[in-house]
Symmetry: C2
Subunit: 221 residues, 2 copies
């Protein structure tokens, strides 16, 4: 048990160091030696967990994905909005998320399959849209797989423009504006008017998750 | 005159070589020596036109911008759609456009101000939206500057996702789907139903421009 805990901690250390180096240097320029230096682990420990630079990058991408468990909502379009707005909030505050997004967007990352995060995100969005459709939340013409790709692709661009123009300072506002442009083509009017797409929503959802993690007893009581 | 023509040709040669190298290697990894080799010009000629790698990259970004003169339309939202769909078409076929977009999206291009293309594109879109607004094409709540940023940011992401997932094979379809999601939040219904947002539109506009360039007499007659 203790050994396993240590292995998990070591793996996390390595991934955090890899995230930092990939973000600073880009995938192509980053070296395993730099990641080793930043992680402060032995070469043996690193290669026990990750056999190559590509495996390290895929590890960062997967770790990023796993940080997106969000509270379930009865309205599935609100849940979809929460996924996007929470992600915008985390991009501003969590280095692992930022590194994952930069890797996905790095068009010079030769030999790294960057389609994974786009596809996985798209699956998450599609599942929420299909559940929303079953509940009558969607306009009749909406095709969940098509709209899921639009949501994922557009958010990728909005974050990239926000990074280039304002170093993410305007990201929460831009994400809210994005959803205000997309959702009228997706949601039936009665659902549309009930949605919270505000720029403070991401921070609110984040706090809600932290509260639930810290006070499990309060939930049970 | 002859000297000036040669200078223009040399400048273009250098920019095309720079576009190729930046696209292959990324901004950070590319070197002036590689660009010199690809351009086949003397070091003196290159430095006469461009004083640094940054100046070369800014030259590629400007050249990309200048390729987007499109035919004027009486409906300004159609003109905006044409800008986006023609750009998607050119991304698939023009290396200079591809290199410019990749530079704009290169989050590891240290020391290169990438905000320029986003801002210039946003200004083009904003001007079209304002003219459309003056003609009554826009829904009352639309703020041209906000919607312009949404159009530019979302397209940037859709192209990036298309490159990662299908090497641009699905870009024309994805661009059409993007506009079908955005325009219902922008256009009044009577304008919306008159717009051509189809995936073949970009190629049609491209052919129209080529025809006008080749047959100026036909236009005058």
């Amino acid at each position: 048990m203790v050994k396993q805990d240590r292995a998990i901690r070591t793996r996390r250390n390595i991934l955090e160091a890899a995230a930092k180096i990939f973000e600073e240097r880009g995938y192509q320029a980053a070296t395993i030696a730099e990641i080793l230096g930043a992680a402060g682990v032995t070469k043996g420990a690193l290669y026990f967990h990750f056999s190559s630079k590509e495996q390290l990058a895929l590890g960062v991408l997967e770790e990023q994905d796993q940080r997106f468990v969000i509270p379930e909502r009865s309205c599935k379009l609100q849940e979809l909005a929460d996924v996007v707005l929470l992600h915008a909030y985390r991009l501003q505050s969590d280095p692992m998320v930022r590194a994952g997004v930069r890797l996905s967007m790095d068009q010079h990352a030769e030999g790294l399959d960057r389609s994974g995060p786009f596809m996985r995100w798209s699956e998450v969005c599609q599942a929420l849209l299909e559940r929303g459709q079953a509940q009558g939340e969607l306009l009749p013409h909406v095709i969940p797989s098509v709209t899921a790709d639009v949501v994922v692709g557009t958010f990728a661009g909005v974050q990239s423009m926000s990074q280039a123009v304002s170093d993410y300072q305007d990201l929460r506002r831009k994400s809210s504006e994005l959803l205000r442009h997309l959702f009228p083509s997706i949601a039936v009017p009665s659902v549309l008017t009930s949605l919270d797409l505000s720029e403070s929503r991401g921070a609110d959802v984040f706090e809600e998750i932290q509260r639930d993690l810290l006070e499990p007893a309060a939930v049970a009581s």
